[in-house]
Amino acid sequence: MATYILKRFLQLIPVFLGATLLVYFLVFSLPGDPIVALFGDKPVNEAVAARLREQYHLDQPFWIQYLLYLKGIFTFDLGQDFSGRPIAAVLGEVFPVTARLAVMALIFEAVFGIIFGLIAGLRKGKFFDATVLVASLIVIGIPIFVLGFLLQFTIGVQLGWAKPTVSSAATVQDLILPAIVLGLGSFAYVLRLTRTSVIENMNADYVRTATAKGLSRFRVVRVHILRNSLIPVITFLGADLGALMGGAIVTEGIFNVPGVGNRLYRAVTQGEGPTVVSIVTVLVLIYVVSNLLVDLLYAWLDPRIRYDA
């Protein structure tokens, strides 16, 4: 097991380096003056430009720039945004909000997805299953921003059950509707994944043997079917956390949640290159680490993997 963990960790390093290198390369190394590009469509402010040139060490060779940039990440010195505020401080404000949102979405999609998926799988072909299949298909098919607007309009504006936009405090209660919107697509996916997994395992030989042993149906479902079916589902959920953090950009835009996605959106539309790069880098790091954790989780759930050479 220890060698497995070590191996996965070592594989993580080149991936992180590669991804950040790719981002850095895309922004700073392609033809054209990157500082001018960072201003986007706005006129170039010379003072800011000079400061940025110094900040990004543009007089140094590419590799030095990149290494200094990496050093900055690990010392939390991510430079300053266009209004002069340290980006690290900005991120410190917005990440907890998005984290809260993402975790709530994850809980929603996990709990409901697994329960509904289990029931649908056990009652394959019956009414509940058919309904759930059609509903999940619709949810997956409708793009998240459409769903977001729809729910915001009906539940927030028309019915008034929840606040259509989130306050700056972003309490847990405020975030319920956005969390549901964010998690809806993944919820449908978790549901289908659980259902497929349950159906596959239901017909497995070892389930038949378990029944032949004289175990009660409840025990067979809980100990044998569910436990084995959850393996792919839980690994998906682990990977989804990283994806949720990155994908919250649309949801936060719609509901005006003061989180990472919103800040990123503003940075993108207002052309704040450095902020964009920094935020994307941190998101990549989170994604890569969560993938590592998922691999470890998978090994813990499935004993066969631990002994894989």
């Binding site: 594989q11 080149p14 991936v15 992180f16 590669g18 991804a19 790719l22 981002v23 895309l26 922004v27 392609l30 033809p31 054209g32 003056d33 001018v36 590009a37 960072l38 986007g40 469509d41 298909l137 619709i138 997956i140 098919g141 409708i142 793009p143 998240i144 921003f145 459409v146 607007f149 729809l150 915001q152 309009f153 504006v157 994806a243 990155g246 994908g247 950009i249 649309v250 835009g253 990123l264 959106y265 993108v268 539309t269 290159g273 964009v276 790069v277 994307v280 998101l283 990549v284 994604y287 890569v288 993938n291």
Partner: protein, 330 residues
């Protein structure tokens, strides 16, 4: 004896002998058939033929195929569906936010443009981006995945690492970053968007292709082909690829839907297609501001978008069920 087998001697106890009758079934009731006769009654049916036979009966397939045909028709010949061409007929501010009127079934946007016409004419750009992105992704991802899966070794190792790196950048984020580049800020067309989406979309197809190829390459019929003299590359093209197509087709169909959504999302974020190009994403973004007062200009393109994406995903689902190897194997 090896330690794991501890079978001692069988005891010599035997039960009392009982007379057991010898039963023989009536020959007429249990006729013998010739061993292993070939069924000659039906027409020949390949796996694809069988899948098609099953598909034709599925309502999921019929509905989605019909919808897709409608969408394709609209994107190719929009003028057949809408008398008004939004490009030539200017929007009239006088009609701002007006409701449905004669000849304008879905009302007007805040700018005074006909919603219905914009929805119809906006179909083409979304479908074009989705289609060509899928083709690009299939080409690049398919080739990379097939080579990595078939030849293995260092080709596979390098591809796996590249794959991991690109996976770390989710589609939207990667597109956002790339859109920062001066070359892309200056020219924003459907083709640059396709290029960017392909760049971040190919890893998924590569991974599916690789998985499918790895599964097929160890099959006996591939070894049989090699033993009769087919070259390694020949076996890949003539035997492995045709048998790997099923999962690739399913994923490609679903991805088409995903790419249409991606285009709309990016346009909605303001970094997709330029505002001058008519697209659903742009329309949704423009109608966002007046959502509270007049939700319809936002909802109609959203509905069109949803129906289109849904039909591709439904089609992918139906194909997956029809081509499922577990259902195929007897």
């Amino acid at each position: 004896m090896t330690p794991e087998n501890m079978t001692p001697e069988t005891p010599t106890a035997s039960p009392a002998k009982r007379h057991v009758e010898h039963f023989v079934a009536d020959f007429a009731e249990t006729p013998l058939q010739a061993t292993d006769k070939v069924k000659e009654d039906q027409a020949p049916l390949s796996l694809w033929g069988e899948a098609w036979k099953n598909l034709r009966k599925q309502p999921l397939f019929l509905i989605s195929a019909f919808l897709i045909l409608v969408v394709v028709a609209v994107s190719l010949f929009p003028s057949l569906f809408s008398g008004i061409d939004p490009a030539s007929e200017a929007c009239q501010l006088a009609n701002s936010d007006a409701g449905p009127a004669a000849g304008h079934p879905l009302g007007f946007t805040q700018q005074g443009c006909d919603v219905y016409a914009r929805v119809i004419f906006g179909t083409r750009s979304s479908v074009t981006v989705g289609l060509f992105t899928t083709l690009g992704v299939l080409l690049i991802g398919g080739i990379m995945g097939a080579l990595a899966g078939y030849y293995g070794g260092w080709v596979d190792a390098i591809l796996a690492r590249i794959n991991d790196i690109f996976f770390a950048l989710p589609l939207i984020l990667g597109a956002i970053v790339m859109m920062q580049l001066p070359v892309f800020r200056a020219n924003r067309t459907a083709w640059t968007l396709v290029l960017i989406l392909v760049t971040f979309g190919w890893p998924q197809i590569a991974r599916i292709t690789r998985g499918a190829v790895i599964e097929v390459r160890n099959a006996d019929f591939v070894t049989a082909a090699r033993s009769l003299g087919v070259s390694k590359f020949g076996a890949l093209m003539r035997h492995v690829m045709p048998n790997s197509l099923a999962p690739i087709i399913v994923v490609a169909t679903i991805s088409l839907g995903t790419f249409i959504v991606a285009e709309s999302t990016l346009s909605f974020l303001g970094i997709g297609l330029p505002p001058s190009v008519m697209s659903w994403g742009n329309d949704i973004q423009a109608a966002q501001a007046s959502l509270r007062s007049n939700p319809m200009p936002l909802l109609w393109p959203a509905i069109a978008l949803s129906i289109t994406v849904l039909s591709f995903i439904m089609l992918g689902d139906a194909l997956r069920d029809a081509l499922d190897p577990k259902a195929r194997k007897r």
